[in-house]
């Protein structure tokens, strides 16, 4: 766990990542709050807060007495959301660091192409 951010946010992100990667397919059941707590060794209340964050956002939904499930269409929604964040979270720091090291925009573009073909 990353010390700087609330654990429940990280739990929510972890579930989102599993949905994005297909580990948790749409309409699949997600582990229970207690299973998350035991796996990540965190307080169950904290795990519950992370799961609830996704319920409120409509990424997960509750079936009473059965558990939590991934909402249909949530993968596409997460992709859109993450693409918006990609700019601030990855692109901007990358360009800033490249500028610091004197890497030109062309060189940077070449490096990205090479990385992809490697």
């Amino acid at each position: 766990m990353d010390e700087s951010r609330p654990i429940f946010v990280q739990i929510a992100e972890q579930i989102e990542n599993d949905i994005l990667s297909g580990t948790l397919p749409e309409e699949a059941q997600v582990p229970s709050t207690n299973e998350f707590a035991a796996f990540y060794r965190i307080n169950p209340a904290t795990a519950g807060k992370g799961v609830n964050l996704l319920v409120e956002a409509g990424i997960l939904y509750k079936k009473r007495g059965i558990g939590m499930f991934v909402t249909s269409g949530s993968r596409a929604r997460l992709v859109t959301q993450r693409r918006e964040e990609f700019h601030t979270e990855y692109l901007r720091p990358l360009v800033a660091e490249a500028a610091k090291l004197g890497i030109t925009q062309h060189q940077l573009a070449d490096m990205i192409r090479e990385e992809k073909s490697a």
Partner: protein, 296 residues
């Protein structure tokens, strides 16, 4: 949520020393609380007061809505695992576990058996032949298997190795999830338990200096590293918890930063790193004692 423990203006004096000095706080039902602080901060005294083993000098304590002192209705629901619990030397651990149901109505003997296997406790061996860690595991097993609605663990794992401590944390979380109850865990191994805690109460010289939920303490401080002049400029007008440096490099720990402040710091070429709960508490509680004497 209801308050299971309510403490108001509690003071406990031993002669001139105020071991607990005008302390007020509440503990909600079915939460895991960390009771943290340095040696001699008053943690054990506070737990003794809450379990009716010490008399308060002044102030009030309500546990399950009543005073705990000589009150069987309250004490039946309480389990207090002490750091240096003494057992009769010629007892075996089996004797301890057989007598436990007399004191703890919710005692689960099957669960105790599973814990004994987990901790590999030699139950037939006499107490005086057990190692320090094995003695500690008796206390931990009693604390877990008693399933008391209010359980205190006072430094429960003196001498327990890293594997046994991890078993304790895992079993505590599992059993707490299945049988919710209120747990108060006093410990110096803050990094090991910080993710388990829902609330944190920090004592220093008999006073409560932090009473907060653990989530809001996370990220409540940040260490800023960079060129001395840049760091000083950034840290001016801020609350500084700690200051350090070597050569032209300075580090300061400051209170919570907003997102704009973070990007401002990064734009100035400063590095930001999070402060763990343990570091935060070390920095908040290490003020030299003469400062307290002067202010007292």
């Amino acid at each position: 949520m209801t308050a299971l423990i309510e403490v108001n203006n509690l003071t406990k004096r031993f002669g001139k020393l105020a071991a607990i000095n005008n302390v007020s706080f509440t503990v909600e039902e079915n939460t895991i609380h960390g009771l943290l602080g340095r040696n001699g901060a008053g943690k054990t005294t506070l737990m003794q007061l809450l379990t009716g083993q010490e008399f308060a000098t002044s102030g009030s304590i309500r546990v399950f809505g009543e005073s705990p002192v000589e009150n069987a209705r309250v004490l039946n629901k309480v389990c207090f695992v002490k750091e240096s619990q003494k057992y009769p030397e010629d007892f075996t651990a089996t004797h301890v576990f057989r007598s436990a149901p007399w004191f703890f109505p919710a005692w689960d003997a099957d669960y105790a058996q599973r814990l004994i296997a987990d901790f590999r406790l030699p139950v037939g061996r006499r107490i005086k032949k057990l190692s320090r860690g094995q003695l500690s595991s008796i206390g931990v097993i009693v604390g877990l298997a008693s399933r008391a609605p209010l359980t205190f663990f006072d430094e429960p794992y003196l001498g327990l190795d890293a594997v046994a401590r991890q078993i304790f944390y895992d079993r505590l979380l599992e059993d707490y999830a299945e049988h919710p109850r209120t747990v108060i865990l006093s410990t110096h191994l803050i990094d090991e338990v910080s993710d388990l805690l829902e609330n944190v109460l920090v004592l220093n010289d008999g006073e409560v200096i932090i009473d907060s939920d653990a989530e809001s303490l996370r990220g409540s401080a940040t260490t800023v590293v960079g060129k001395r002049s840049d760091v000083e400029a950034f840290a001016a007008h801020r609350e500084i918890l700690h200051r350090d440096g070597i050569g032209g490099i300075a580090t300061v720990t400051v209170a919570r930063l907003s997102d704009t402040e973070r990007s401002e710091a990064l734009a100035r070429g400063l590095e930001l790193s999070p402060v763990s709960l343990q570091q935060l508490i070390v920095q908040k509680t290490k003020a030299p004692s003469q400062e307290f004497e002067q202010s007292a």
